[in-house]
């Protein structure tokens, strides 16, 4: 069975939402915390509800609705989300109130909206969708887990037009804590020259990216999602190379068949070492592209990469701003995404022209 990406929608720190141009005018940031550009949420959500919604809920619900609109689908067959951190803003807010108010007379709203399934639940509520509804919360492979669930549902003939998305928000508290944990650069850099100097740390980002998956071919589909695979704590570069080769072999491909590899380079020396090594070995003759200078690093950023790959294939163009090395084919038919999160969670996605 072939799985197709029928439509997509992406809210990110770039002008990716409701924009027909594919990253032709990249937004430059000279800071290490990239905030998603908010669309006019009143176009998607009842204004009475917007006030109470945290950033991740608004982003998620709007991206999901726009994805359905673009796919011309009113009711999805299932709703599946991936989020590593969940609703951080509401969680921190409720935690803070517990401390400040000494556990007495707390308002319930932040607690109610803090559960990790809030985005998927709010989408179901908005659509009155009684179908399968799931949320994966496994760190750097939360989105990949959601994708695998969607692929299995299609293969089981349990549902069609599955809405699947990756959402994560960055908040004041999470940015402070992740900075203290050493994840980010200590001085502001331009995101557009993130890869020109090598130093420790990356830039933080956020976003909500949704896809409609179907097994029905159509000229309108963006691309085929040929495969997704995650692996955990590989021993060394050789094992990673082997995993990539066998993943391609499962789809009867070799690396020379791949027109473009999108990697998860994020500007951090340690993080990028494996990509550097692969660019000299397995990916030696392959065109390479990056994306995290555009959306920032976050655990479900692979959803941004999948959005980029499927839209590049559909539009038959590779935006200049993502190119790392010599694109042989300006009209890529087969794109491999290889990303890892903190060197622990690695994932591969294969996207092909329909």
């Amino acid at each position: 069975m072939k799985i197709y990406i029928r439509s997509s929608a992406c809210i990110s720190p770039q002008k990716t939402f409701g924009n027909s141009n594919l990253l032709t005018e990249a937004v430059e940031y000279t800071k290490i915390r990239l905030r998603a550009i908010d669309p006019d949420y009143t176009a998607f959500i009842d204004p009475k509800l917007i006030r109470r919604m945290s950033h991740i809920i608004k982003m998620g619900v709007a991206a999901a609705q726009e994805c359905l609109n673009r796919g011309n689908i009113e009711m999805p067959g299932a709703i599946i989300t991936g989020t590593a951190y969940g609703c951080l803003e509401d969680t921190a807010s409720f935690l803070t109130r517990i401390i400040e108010l000494h556990e007495e007379l707390l308002p319930p709203t932040a607690f109610i909206q803090s559960t990790h399934n809030t985005v998927a639940a709010q989408i179901a509520l908005m659509l009155k969708c009684h179908q399968y509804n799931n949320t994966f919360v496994h760190k750097g492979i939360s989105f990949e887990s959601a994708l695998l669930d969607a692929i299995m549902l299609l293969k089981e003939n349990e549902a069609d037009n599955i809405l699947v998305g990756g959402t994560d928000e960055i908040t004041d508290a999470s940015f402070t804590i992740l900075s203290r944990l050493g994840l980010y650069k200590r001085w502001p850099v331009s995101n557009l020259s993130l890869f020109t100097t090598s130093s420790k740390g990356t830039i933080g980002g956020e976003g909500a990216v949704f896809f409609l998956l179907t097994d029905k071919p159509s000229a309108d589909n963006l691309a085929e999602l040929s495969g997704v695979k995650a692996f955990y704590k590989p021993n060394d570069a050789a094992e990673i190379e082997q995993k990539i080769i066998s993943f391609l072999a499962m789809h009867a491909l070799q690396i020379d068949d791949i027109d473009l590899v999108i990697t998860g380079k994020n500007g951090d020396l340690k993080n990028d070492e494996i990509y550097r090594q692969l660019s000299l070995s397995l990916f030696n003759n392959t065109a390479l592209a990056n994306y995290k200078h555009l959306c920032g690093e976050y655990p479900t950023s692979a959803a941004f990469a999948l959005w980029l790959a499927s839209n590049m294939i559909k539009k038959e163009e590779v935006p200049l701003v993502v190119i790392e090395r010599s694109v042989k084919n300006a009209n890529p038919k087969k794109v491999l995404i290889y990303n890892h999160y903190l060197n622990k969670y690695h994932s591969l996605m294969l996207v092909s022209a329909c």
Binding site: E100, T115, M152
Partner: protein
């Protein structure tokens, strides 16, 4: 595609026992796990009863051989997951593709709460090691590392239906021939975050809860972990111990009514039960016991009861809420109650719904009050419903 997925091992730790055997004996003795708060540091101590696991973090850590500084949620998970894996007694686990699919609702929140006390006062303060395991996935990862599972792991969080979803996601990984063995279930420790959260919603009973009683006053929070070991037919053939049963049906449907409240007609729960029956190929009259979600809140029991009535009227199987023993263990409840459901088939037992006195006026049925033995139990339905309208039903069947 693999057709059948079998249950080969069980593990549980709850307020009524630190392992499966202790839980069973508490059921026989009708000993509930609720008491005044002993371990959780909170102003609600002596005011709100809870169902705590009767061990300190130090004692839990000593049982597991890991640090007592890690989240209680992880400690509980490790104990129950290890018990399940050891119960399954798979001789050569490394020759199979093995996964760990676990669920929880607030990850390492107990530690994050400690961190936040200092962090709120000064953003440069707070021990980072206390927030390092905040993510739900961190709990799963720490346990998978201890169990030596690397082939596949993931974490599901759909509020109180989380671990029921983990179990049937695990089964589907086997059916889709991605894995051969999956340890699946969930864990949640009591935290100030959840205790205060449910307290603000005013759905905590100040006495011991009375699920499905006309005069029910709310739920008691509990904590614990419960896991089943799911195996493919190929693995099942290598096992020397008899299998417990199979996972015959499952469904996840959404109520799509309100973020926290269930719809009056129980749409989500009705759909989950009905579609799980369809998946299993069974009729309502085939079900020999329903392990109810039965939290004891006015809203849940009314919605769930309405859904049961719509589906089962006029022939109601015996049913009960084991939350009258364990409290509501949130993200762990689907896993723990899956273990109890499987035991009902194995031992031919039906659990009592403690403290039940008055039948709900709106329904022509009542939960079982006594511990029944010697029953023929071929098919058990287990319900888990949660915030966000997430409703899941599992059906376990004798083989």
């Amino acid at each position: 595609m693999n057709l059948e997925v079998y249950i080969a091992g069980l593990g549980a730790i709850t307020a009524i026992g630190n392992n499966v055997a202790q839980c069973l004996s508490a059921f026989k003795n009708e000993q509930a796990g609720m008491a005044d708060i002993t371990y959780l540091e909170t102003v609600h101590r002596n005011k709100i009863p809870v169902a705590e696991v009767k061990l300190s973090n130090k004692e839990l850590a000593a049982m597991t051989g890991v640090s007592s500084e890690i989240s209680r949620t992880t400690l509980l998970s490790l104990i129950a997951a290890r018990e399940a894996l050891s119960d399954a007694a798979i001789a050569d686990l490394s020759s199979f593709r093995t996964g760990f699919v676990s669920a929880n609702t607030v990850g390492g929140m107990d530690k994050s709460e400690d961190f936040f006390i200092d962090f709120v006062a000064d953003n440069s303060k707070g021990k980072l090691r206390n927030v390092f395991g905040h993510e739900c996935g961190s709990v799963t990862e720490a346990v998978a590392d201890q169990l030596g599972i690397k082939d596949y792991m993931t974490t599901i969080s759909t509020a109180c239906s989380s671990s029921a979803n983990a179990i049937f996601y695990g089964a589907r990984l086997i059916k889709n021939d991605i894995l051969d063995v999956v340890i699946a279930g969930g864990t949640d420790a009591l935290t100030k975050f959840t205790l205060n959260g449910f307290n603000t919603l005013m759905i905590l009973d100040k006495d011991y809860c009375k699920p499905f009683d006309e005069n029910r006053q709310g739920l008691n929070l509990g904590e614990g972990a419960g896991y089943v070991v799911l195996v493919s037919e190929k693995v099942a053939r290598t096992l020397k111990k008899p299998l417990y049963c199979k996972l015959g049906g499952y469904n996840n449907s959404n109520d799509a009514y309100h973020q926290t409240a269930s719809s009056p007609d129980g749409t989500g729960s009705y759909l989950a039960m009905k579609r799980a029956l369809e998946k299993s190929g069974l009729k309502p009259s085939d079900i020999d016991y329903i392990n109810l979600h039965g939290t004891g809140t006015s809203n849940n029991d009314s919605a769930e009861g309405t859904a049961v009535k719509r589906l089962f009227n006029p022939h109601y199987p015996p049913m009960s809420s084991t939350k009258s023993f364990t409290g509501h263990t949130l993200g762990a409840s689907g896993g723990i109650e899956a273990v109890f459901s499987v035991l009902a088939i194995r031992h031919g037992i039906i659990y009592p719904n403690l403290r039940f006195e008055t039948q709900m006026q709106e329904f022509p049925f009542a939960p079982e009050k006594r511990f029944l033995t010697g029953q023929t139990i071929d098919h058990v339905m287990s319900n888990s419903f949660g915030f966000g309208g997430n409703c899941t039903s599992l059906i376990f069947s004798r083989i």
